[in-house]
């Protein structure tokens, strides 16, 4: 019953609903990329610099080498979404871990954890990511971890706040008096109650991570084996005088995806916080 109410509230928010549908579409596109376009997207298939619509075989045109832009966009969706999801997962794991321990134990543990969060908020985020990528190498793993490391602080603060408000509730006291271990109380008792707002935040971190990755790839520091959308924008940059569409199309893809993720995040937020419903 409660679940239906939640879904209803979510669907009533038209923006969030449209956003969720479009995200689903992008995800399907990413999942079935090799079904739609079985050949390597980086293969030369036609004349170079065909404008969108010029040749019905390439609805979004071709780039400077004669590669199909639609195929690159569809394949790039996979890289972009996966990087966003994994980076957000890294940020969520670090954030929930730090926030849970800080909120549950309090005292000096809390103090140290919050100072650490402050530290990571102080270092300019993109500069930190670039530094890690430069020093440790431009591999997909390094980029994902670096983005996770700069994105965990809001999640930690949110988790900590939830833990602070939950740790002295009766059900937790009951568990304590039963002699349950701290670890078990944190993981199986408090965490499930603290998670909903944290999940909302994670969905917003996915959007931020996609923007991060696109900037890193745009600067030419992305993983050379991955054709993400940001890299496509960067590749098309030289040709803005003659064929600006090569730059424009992947950028629009990034914008729509990020926009939809933000809409979904906002919608989830409204649905989970009924107090804000009538705003």
């Amino acid at each position: 019953m409660q679940r239906f109410e939640f879904l209803g509230r979510f669907a009533r928010n038209r923006g969030a609903f449209v956003g969720a549908c479009l995200i689903l579409l992008v995800a399907l596109m990413a999942a079935f990329a090799s079904v739609f376009f079985p050949t390597d997207p980086l293969r030369i298939v036609g004349l170079p610099e065909l404008w969108p619509g010029e040749d019905p075989e390439f609805p979004l045109g071709t780039d400077s080498l004669g590669r199909d832009i639609l195929s690159m966009i569809v394949h790039g969706a996979r890289a972009t979404l996966l990087i966003g999801l994994f980076a957000s997962a890294v940020a969520t794991i670090i954030g929930v871990g730090v926030g849970a321990i800080a909120g549950f134990f309090g005292g000096w543990v809390d103090e140290v954890a919050m100072r650490a969060a402050e530290l990571f908020q102080t270092i300019p985020n993109l500069i930190f990511v670039l530094t890690i990528v430069v020093i440790l190498g431009s591999t997909l793993t390094n980029i994902v971890i670096a983005i996770g490391i700069v994105s965990w602080t809001p999640i930690a603060r949110m988790t900590r706040a939830e833990f602070l408000s939950l740790r002295d509730r009766e059900f937790v006291q009951a568990c304590r008096s039963m002699g349950m271990s701290d670890f078990r109380i944190i993981v199986s008792e408090i965490l499930p109650n603290a998670l909903p707002p944290v999940i909302v935040l994670s969905s917003l971190v996915v959007a931020g991570a996609i923007l991060f990755e696109s900037a890193v790839s745009f600067l030419g520091l992305g993983d050379p084996n991955v054709a993400s959308w940001g890299r496509l924008v960067g590749d098309g940059r030289q040709l803005i005088r003659s064929s600006w569409y090569i730059c424009a199309i992947p950028g629009i893809a990034i914008m729509i995806t990020v926009l939809c993720l933000n809409l979904v995040g906002d919608g989830l937020n409204d649905a989970l916080n009924p107090k804000l419903r009538d705003r």
Binding site: I123, V134, L219, W244, G251
Partner: protein, 338 residues
């Protein structure tokens, strides 16, 4: 008058306020020390994790292969010392603003950064100014015309600029305003061979400022709108209206001032991201700032410059946060900042 209405407790005045501000400044400076130390330690760990020491790079660049020379260099640079000793030396060097030497620019790192700093500061300040003026104005309009066409228009525009990657927005603006219309320059900070007149620089500043600033304008718009709506429901606003003040007067004198607080807060938090964002924008517009230097150093694996920018960037963020706290105190005298 507005202040008295706002404050349930009498606000501090004159000298009392000044000492409070000084006390706050001192406390913040003391708190900044462990933060800076943390930044330096993270930096040091990154250097340690780097494959190949800078000595190997240096000797390779200068084609030194004689083992006795290398051993001598290892000793000179203290690479045979224990790690904690190296860390202490590193901290000691940073305390003297010694960030090492950049072979690429053939000058100390600190000097290389210093040369590029004014352009970046100019870009950051103009972008933040743009973001705040657009954000506050749009947020106020949306909140005064809530649930009308204007409100929706502002919200939709904010959503789009919040989702558009800044570098892409920059390129698209170059396509429109420089390539197609020919109104504004494609990049750089002044005309080639130009003497750097103010108007020339401003002309070059417009597009980078828009590309960097519109994203933050979108954030401030959203924050300002909801903050205005929230403050407008508070009791003191109703009192002011009941006194017979006009709606516009109440909005500007009472609601606006209080609604600004969250904007100021996130401005401080985001100072680091504005700095980081300028890296990308500078690369798009060939703006000769710290971002261009960073990009060049990143591509040439020039670690000392990269790390120097990270440390100084963090310092800028800390300073900006202290400034924000002081502004906060000035805006709302009730606030006791821990």
């Amino acid at each position: 008058m507005a202040g008295e209405l706002v404050s349930p407790t009498p606000a501090l005045r004159g000298s009392a306020r000044r000492t409070a501000a000084l006390r706050l400044l001192r406390r913040r400076l003391i708190q900044a020390v462990p933060l800076m130390l943390g930044v330096v330690i993270i930096n040091f760990c990154l250097i340690q994790m780097a494959p190949g020491s800078f000595l190997e790079l240096m000797t390779a660049e200068n084609q030194v292969s004689d083992p006795t020379t290398i051993a001598l260099l290892r000793k000179t640079y203290g690479l045979d010392d224990p790690v904690w000793m190296q860390l202490l030396k590193y901290i000691w060097a940073l305390l003297h603003f010694d960030f090492g030497f950049s072979y690429r620019q053939n000058m100390p790192v600190i000097q290389a950064i210093w040369i590029h700093l004014p352009a970046t500061v100019l870009l950051m300040v103009s972008s933040i100014a743009l973001a705040i003026s657009i954000g506050v104005a749009a947020g106020v309009v949306a909140s005064m015309k809530v649930r009308t066409f204007w409100d929706s228009l502002v919200s939709v525009a904010a959503m789009f600029f919040y989702a558009a990657p800044s570098f892409w927005l920059g390129i698209m603006m170059i396509v429109l305003f420089s390539v197609k219309l020919g109104w504004l320059p494609v990049g750089g900070m002044m005309k080639i061979g130009g003497n750097g007149g103010v108007l020339d620089i401003l002309h070059h500043l417009i597009l980078p400022t828009l590309a960097l600033g519109l994203f933050y304008a979108a954030i401030y718009t959203r924050v300002m709108r909801s903050s205005m709506l929230e403050v407008a429901q508070l009791d003191f606003v109703r009192t002011a209206r009941a006194k017979g003040l006009s709606r516009n007067k109440v909005t500007i004198h009472h609601v606006l001032r209080n609604a600004l607080l969250p904007v100021v807060t996130i401005l401080g938090v985001q100072m680091g991201t504005v700095l980081a964002g300028s890296v990308v924008i500078e690369s798009v517009f060939s703006w000769p700032g710290v971002g261009s230097l960073l990009f060049d150093s990143v591509s040439s694996r020039n670690y000392p410059v990269v790390l120097g920018i990270m440390v100084l960037g963090s310092l800028v963020v800390i300073a900006a946060n202290i400034a924000v706290d002081l502004i906060y105190m000035w805006l709302d005298p009730r606030i006791e900042i821990r």
